[in-house]
Symmetry: D2
Subunit: 362 residues, 4 copies
């Protein structure tokens, strides 16, 4: 008799295959689930392997469009960056993948979910917090030691997959124009070739391709995991890096300074929540709502070039611009009275030491 | 043969007595330790009980002076308050108590410590985090279910011990003057009676007495525990409440506005760390250092009255005052040019919508 | 020939009367405007005086309901408090008063507005920033030195108008129940008398009356003005103080801890904006939107007593409660596994010094 | 008869020469002052020109070493960056330049200072706030319209001076090793060439040279000025950009996560103060003190390459490392119990919606 049904996040690799076998031996029915979020993968082979190992059902789910629209776009709006450097590419995939797994578990009447993430990483936390948030009664089956010991085989070697080395990248830049509306890209155009993309998945894939070609978005960092240890991360985020810079630019061009300051603080919090696995939490939903609100005016076009690992902003334009060229330039005074600056400065100096004699008491 | 030595934080009550017996039955040598941090307690009786239950050694430690100076004073400097209401009286005692327990464990060569706090409360966390911080190799022996089940006997009943009911409090106020230096009280004087106190413990005890007499510092709140659940807390903090108000007053009188704003943010963080049990952590040490630095100028005298549960500030004076009476009053202009205010306002209005025509691109 | 039309915020007092006369002498047509925001005032007398001094038109506007609903309620939602003590009663009135003045100026085709606030206070700034925000082309006519010199006559003397002295307050408390929905009060009931109020203006007026009777909400503080100087403020905010405490209580009872933490930070910013005169600014509109969003679940009833200057929370209930009594109490374990706490603590201790040996490089 | 003495910040250019002449015509004695902070300038020619225009005295001051040590180093410690992009190269020079000008004014008995910065820019504010902070009685002589109108001639054209275009930069990287102590660089070594520098000025100059050669540190941004308008800034900060990345890396490697989080918030504030001209203010001194404290452990070596406009971190090592290689890798469990992670996750999930049934009241 079956102990119940487990939906296993299955990669087709050695460790989750071991978990599959072990779960069956322990007496569970196992449904495997493999999400396509754009990784390079032989999905057919994984399907066949799962079936051959005794999976009762096999789900291969194409989540690419919803991943871009529902998870990456809000992160772009937030300028989400962890510890000043990491664009959270792995973190943002977890809640997307786990959400579908939970949907399958509910639909198939499974009380259990399982995964191959280890007890030391962030991914276990992100995975499990999402499961508990979306299916409070669910039980997470223990991850297998053995499987995790094998995990070392995945360790970094010739590790960059998406990006060319900047040294091998082309010797001339590509120039792109990205159009934003409400803080998310709605179109990308290759300026010279005139080619353009306008669905979220196409836009993001194209930026990945362009960024990858020019070696954009590689970092080698030490980061602080949620569980308190430092670890080294080597990441490549070509499209995300381009969007980070382009969005920052159009945002500063169209957003009030003080709104941006507050939004920046919220973005820091959002990045932490995302990193720590709290996408599905009251606080993260609240912060996403606030950030989304801040993006109402963030629209316009940014021109940029990608070259040898770098993104260079070339210019920007927007119907919602808050930039006033005449006022800034020196020879048009407009309504701006230079004496106001003196008053402004003097008032700002009032609280500097020595400006004011003090009264001892009151 | 003994399994090793445990230093048990022992209260003399039922639950820690059960733990003592259980630890001995499990084969440990048990040293009991009871801290005097000012609570009402029959220390002799507790000592005898511990001995009669088989404690190998009994420590009764008077920590009152160091508790006030090293733990309460920094909290006063920080204006530490959790979730806008709770003055952290319990939280601040934990690291003080656990520190001494660890000192005893090291000195007695004990590898284990134990305590009676339950798995649901904050106190277990505060206790254990302090132990791990100060003695990384220590092991915390498991708390006993049974003991904790009995814990319910401590639940609120006729619960206020330190404070009179405001309704029963005297019908006329007491007026006190508190003198601060570097953000901590160095003297309290009863204005009418001329009586004064000038050691930390005496000052704090006297403020507890005065506050208690007038019913100051009672609150009934719902708070968010570190472990994510809400709980109800009913607290009385008479002396702490008086100091909170007096310190806030002299601080605002002597501290630069912007320094105070930054320090206020640090104080919020400090309160969370304290509440969550991270007194002994790099971040809390860092924040305490910064807050202490902010207090260099915080000196002077605050006059206040306590009456029917309230603290009323009556006045303040300081050699480090940043208040300028002449400037504020309307009939002495001094160096202040009113036209500066217009310039200040106009510059502040520059970024308001509609002030500036926009340029679409750059 | 007239130089144009000025809408003057007119109080009926000496200083604004002087401004009225002076503006007419300078060649302006003057429309006076007096807002009723609940102050004690002889509006008829002010009207007659304005007319006798040559006002072309006289507006007396009852803004009480909109003041409570559109300005006070958002401040209650925000728990808006400046420098930890000041409930911003004066600050919150300015944008309400100036908004109507601007509406009158637009409707009457006036290019100018004027007021009696001095160059050293916050009120000038609050007034003028609101005007520039809502009517960018408006000109603010210079305030008169003479008028401001006379302003000293308003200085504190026997100054409390709304509140009884706590010493003279009744010797028994009144117990009230306030019902909230979306973070604003929708009903207040006097528990013993069964009397209740349910429009915003009635609720707030009644709380002012109750608080005033018991001496609630008096403070004597030193505050930091926007223009950098410290000034002394003596305030009485009886109804606002009651609402501050009641709202804080129901909010903590119904709001997620982390949402509250973020909202608390936004509330601090909101209070500064309000104090500094930026109600009508992109950043304040953004923050109000976010705070309003945070209040969706903040509903329920708070019971409290007012007595001798104090507000005591007695209890709370809510259909949106996040409090779980069984879980908190010690004898029902429910789904909570006490071993989880050990894991939680150990992971939290991972980054404490001494827990981890270090690797020198990577 | 002279109206008094003015110390004029003199560049040798057209506008400050006009101011010099105008001040003399107005009846002032003029002392010119030109700071060498590393810019390309013909100091001899400027000296002769000032003398020929009637300067009473001419000061040419080499501030390069103190500029690097006292102003740039603290900014490196702070990771100071304005609005996520601008490394504050101009801002950080102002207080350094103005400080010496004030020293000269005091020493020469001058009551006035003057400068050529316009009323619309940030530099006027930074200059004047520094003057008022260091010499409260000083008067700033009005800047001349004419001079400022000419300022347009300085506008961007073939504007990059310090950096090569990335396209023209060498086709192979240079690899550098930077050694830090207390968060500031104490040595830079060219790994291949073995060449090294070890005084602050030499280190910074060498990094400027290396970064410049590889086109590092160019940005084209829109930024929000203190006075509320947006302006476009085109900056090149080669050495500063290298140090920003290297410092960030060694800091994350050696600093506790939570300390870093707090320090990051302080750094954001520091950057704003610096940008707005408040280097000499109580709040900036306070924040610098706190940041400096946070850097105590920030020491070690960072290897990096500079190539085609980019800085790539290659590795880091430190005697103060908080990184533990064994713990992170999958096959060594050490003291880390994977079950702790489950407890940690479950406790973190306690407050997620649906985990807990609620009690309606208390």
């Amino acid at each position: 008799m079956s102990k119940g049904t487990v939906v296993l996040a299955y990669s087709g690799g050695l460790d989750t295959s071991c978990i599959l076998v072990w779960l069956k031996e322990e007496g569970y029915d196992v449904i495997t689930y493999l999400a396509n979020i754009g990784q390079v993968e032989d999905f057919d082979a994984a399907k066949k392997k799962a079936e051959s190992l005794g999976a009762k059902k096999v789900f291969i789910e194409d989540l690419r469009a919803e991943f871009v629209e529902e998870f990456i776009w809000p992160s772009v709006q937030a300028s989400a960056i962890y510890e000043d450097r990491y664009l959270l590419g792995t973190s943002v995939a977890r809640p997307c993948i786990a959400r579908r797994q939970i949907q399958i578990a509910r639909q198939e009447g499974a009380q259990y979910v399982s995964h191959g993430a280890t007890g030391k990483g962030n991914d276990q936390i992100r995975f499990e917090l999402t499961c508990y948030a979306l299916y409070p009664e669910v039980q997470v089956t223990p991850w297998s030691m053995d499987a995790n010991l094998m995990h070392i085989s995945h360790a970094p070697a010739g590790l960059y997959l998406m990006t060319k080395s900047p040294e091998d990248a082309p010797n001339s830049p590509d120039v792109l124009e990205i159009e934003f509306k409400k803080g998310v890209p709605i179109k990308v155009t290759h300026v010279k070739e005139g080619k353009s993309k306008d669905t979220p998945l196409d836009i993001f894939s194209y930026l990945n391709e362009m960024g990858g070609r020019h070696g954009v978005g590689r970092i080698d960092i030490v980061e602080n995991r949620f569980i308190g240890m430092k670890s080294r991360g080597i990441y490549e985020t070509p499209g995300g890096t381009i969007l980070y810079h382009a969005h920052l630019d159009i945002e500063t061009f169209t957003m009030d300074r003080e709104v941006r300051r507050i939004k920046q603080g919220l973005g820091v919090k959002f990045a932490e929540m995302l990193y720590n696995g709290f996408w599905y939490s009251p606080e993260c939903e609240f912060v996403r709502h606030c950030i989304d609100k801040s993006q109402e005016r963030v629209e316009g076009k940014v021109q940029l070039s990608v070259f040898k690992g770098q993104v260079y902003i070339l210019g920007r334009e927007s119907p919602k611009s808050l930039y006033n060229e005449d006022l800034v330039s020196m020879d048009v005074q407009g309504d701006y009275d230079p004496c106001d600056a003196s008053g402004f400065i003097k008032i700002n100096a009032v609280s500097l030491p020595g400006q004011l004699p003090a009264s001892p008491g009151i």
